[in-house]
């Protein structure tokens, strides 16, 4: 019957569509860190964040553990405040950890490098909403050149 | 246009609105109908009155472009008149709600000029379509009904053909079978003879007659094929000038001395219905000035 063939064809069409979605979801997209997973938030204040953007990755030794979820100016002196959403899988950072704004390659995107601090009895672990005190700002090329010229002038 | 006045032998003039209470013998009663296309830009009917007797064949004739098809669409509720009432079995069609209108439409059907068969369905499925839509009959019963309807129009052998494979006459007969599938009380035929060869024309004339006499279906035939329709019609309305200008039985009309009726029945080129579309005089248009010596209107 013709309607049966039609239904079969439509069925295959839908299956191919769903397979395409699965392919895109599993093969092309980042599934290890999804926005839906369990996360917690950390905050850090920088002097200068350079080219950091929302959704820039937060990496520990090159491994993505989270993303920048919000950037605002905070406090009396308008310091950039970066909110980072970190996967719950990595929740054992001590409050001696440090963050710095780094650049991947010479021309690459900027990201946040998180270096875990030492752990002993006297330090506490970072919890949701905690601030990371030890921060290092982005290197701004103009500042570097300026410093270089200044130090040349002093010689 | 000459005005129609004076008594005409055997003819009821319809110029005055005749207000009568709905007669049980009239299936469709149209009173004081005003209708214009394009929000009043093109007036089609002005004070039209018509009564269609139950169980009879009524012919509506008139020159082309006079709005005969429009009249059928008004009865079917596809168009809404600006004024007046159209009563179908006592229900005023223009004022019905959408669902009531659809309920009434199940009691009538229309044979379109082109047949309007669904091109993606076979002849069988076309005729089964209204049954499947409006009844919960089982497939076996539907098949029986469809075969009976096809037998009535002589197309039982063509049930597996697609509409594209039918000749013009056959597709009109198939459409007729579909129109009677739900045993309607009223069938409206829109130019059923247009573009038919003499044989299929004869077949359709015979079918209209036999459906009317055997099933008692009220039939309204809109046409300008005078000779064919006069052989079967019980009642004839001639529509011109936005209203009914003459009505009566075929015999009465033939004896009429109304120039318009005679022009129409005899098929004369010019007369009360002018051969020329309204235009300024030829001389004025061609020569740019008016010549007074009766040269004006050709014909």
């Amino acid at each position: 019957m013709e309607s049966r063939n039609t239904q079969l064809a439509v069925g295959f069409f839908v299956i191919i569509g769903v397979l395409a979605l699965l392919f895109l979801g599993l093969r092309a997209a980042n599934t290890s860190f999804s926005a839906n997973g369990e996360t917690y938030k950390l905050y850090a204040k920088f002097d200068n964040i350079g080219g950091l953007k929302e959704r820039s990755p937060v990496k520990v030794g090159g491994v993505v553990v989270g993303r920048v979820s919000n950037i605002t100016l905070d406090g009396e002196y308008y310091e950039p405040l970066v909110e980072m959403t970190i996967s719950k899988k990595y929740d054992e950072f001590s409050n001696t950890s440090s963050v710095s704004v780094l650049t991947s390659g010479l021309l690459g995107e900027q990201y946040i490098g998180l270096s875990p601090g030492f752990i002993d009895d006297t330090v506490e672990m970072l919890d949701d909403g905690d601030y990371i005190q030890d921060t290092k700002s982005a290197l701004v090329l103009e500042d570097l050149i300026g410093q270089f010229l200044f130090s040349q002038g002093n010689d | 246009m000459p005005s129609f006045s004076g008594k005409l032998g055997g003819l009821k003039r319809k110029e005055e609105p005749v207000m009568t209470s709905a007669n049980a013998d009239d299936l469709v009663v149209i009173e004081n109908l005003d209708f214009a296309h394009n929000y009043g830009a093109k007036e089609v009917f002005n004070g039209l009155n018509m009564k269609i007797p139950r169980g009879k064949i009524t012919a509506v004739m008139g020159p082309s472009g006079i709005g005969k098809t429009t009249l059928l669409r008004l009865i079917g509720g596809q168009l809404k008149p600006q004024k007046g009432s159209i009563k179908f079995a006592g229900h005023n069609i223009p004022e019905l709600s959408r669902s009531d209108l659809y309920e009434q439409r199940k009691r009538m059907s229309m044979l379109f000029q082109s047949g309007a068969l669904f091109t993606d369905l076979s002849v069988f499925d076309n005729i089964a379509f209204p049954l499947r839509e409006h009844s919960d009959l089982s497939e076996e019963i539907i098949e029986t009904i469809v075969l009976l309807k096809l037998e009535a129009v002589g197309l039982r052998g063509a049930r597996h053909l697609m509409p594209a494979e039918l000749s013009g006459g056959m597709s009109r007969r198939a459409a007729l079978a579909r129109a009677i599938a739900l045993d309607p009380e009223l069938i409206m035929y829109d130019e059923p003879f247009a573009g038919q060869d003499p044989i299929s024309m004869g077949v359709i004339v015979k079918l209209i007659k036999s459906l009317n006499s055997s099933l008692g279906i009220t039939s309204v035939v809109v046409t300008h094929d005078v000779a064919e329709v006069l052989t079967i019609a019980d009642q004839v309305f001639i529509v011109a000038d936005q209203k009914v200008v003459a009505s009566g039985s075929p015999e009465e009309l033939k004896q009429s001395d109304d120039p318009l009726v005679q022009q129409f029945l005899e098929g004369e080129a010019d007369g009360p219905v002018a051969f020329h579309y309204k235009a300024p005089s030829l001389a004025k248009e061609v020569l740019g000035k008016d010549i007074n010596e009766g040269e004006g209107h050709a014909g």
Binding site: A9, V10, I16 | A175, L182
Partner: protein, 258 residues
Amino acid sequence: MLDKVAALGKTVLDNIAGAGKAMVMLVRALIGKPQLRKSWPLLMQQMYSVGVLSLIIIIISGLFIGMVLGLQGYKILVDFGAEQSLGPMVALSLLRELGPVVTALLFAGRAGSALTAEIGLMKATEQLSSLEMMAVDPLRRVISPRFWAGFYSMPLLALIFSAVGIYGGYLVGVRWLGVDEGAFWSVMQSNVEWGQDILNGIIKSLVFAFVVTWIALHKGYHCVPTSVGISRATTSTVVTASLAVLGLDFVLTALMFG
């Protein structure tokens, strides 16, 4: 001069009236209790003619567009020594833009024009009128299943387009030009995200599906039922739908990624 102003006014009024008619048509077609038993086979039939029959053109276009993206992207990226970024470049262009947009354009040309012509012809041959006279609402019977078929088919087609396109980019980039296979996929994975990229692409193509199918049905349903009228309506469907897709794409992109 005044004539021109009047003509402009008439055009504006006609367009507003047209939009109003289109709105009424859609609302009347979609509102009302669905009759699953009757509408399911109709939907299947339309999914077949709108979706399945568009599959070939979608797959072939997707493959070629992905391959071109792979080739062009490689030529540009290799100058910066960033050919590893070929994966995300191909995937993001397809998922965010080309998948939904090109699918919608092809759909307007392939299925939209067919819908308009079909409905226009049904109108010209009085099939729609005869449905009405048979007490069957043509909006529910003819318009509604076609609308839903278009609405469901296009996102599926867009997903297939993107998937095939990424595969095309992979064929050219990895198999032919020698980008490292592992880098191609892993860099892609670290840059493509469900919510941001795939989901937004699907939302885009749902919006396009709605608009393109609606325009096609409206142009057919309200066409002048003559051969000239139908051919004009068909052309108008492709032009209007394509422009609407491109314009809406800008708006949606600005909202989603702006």
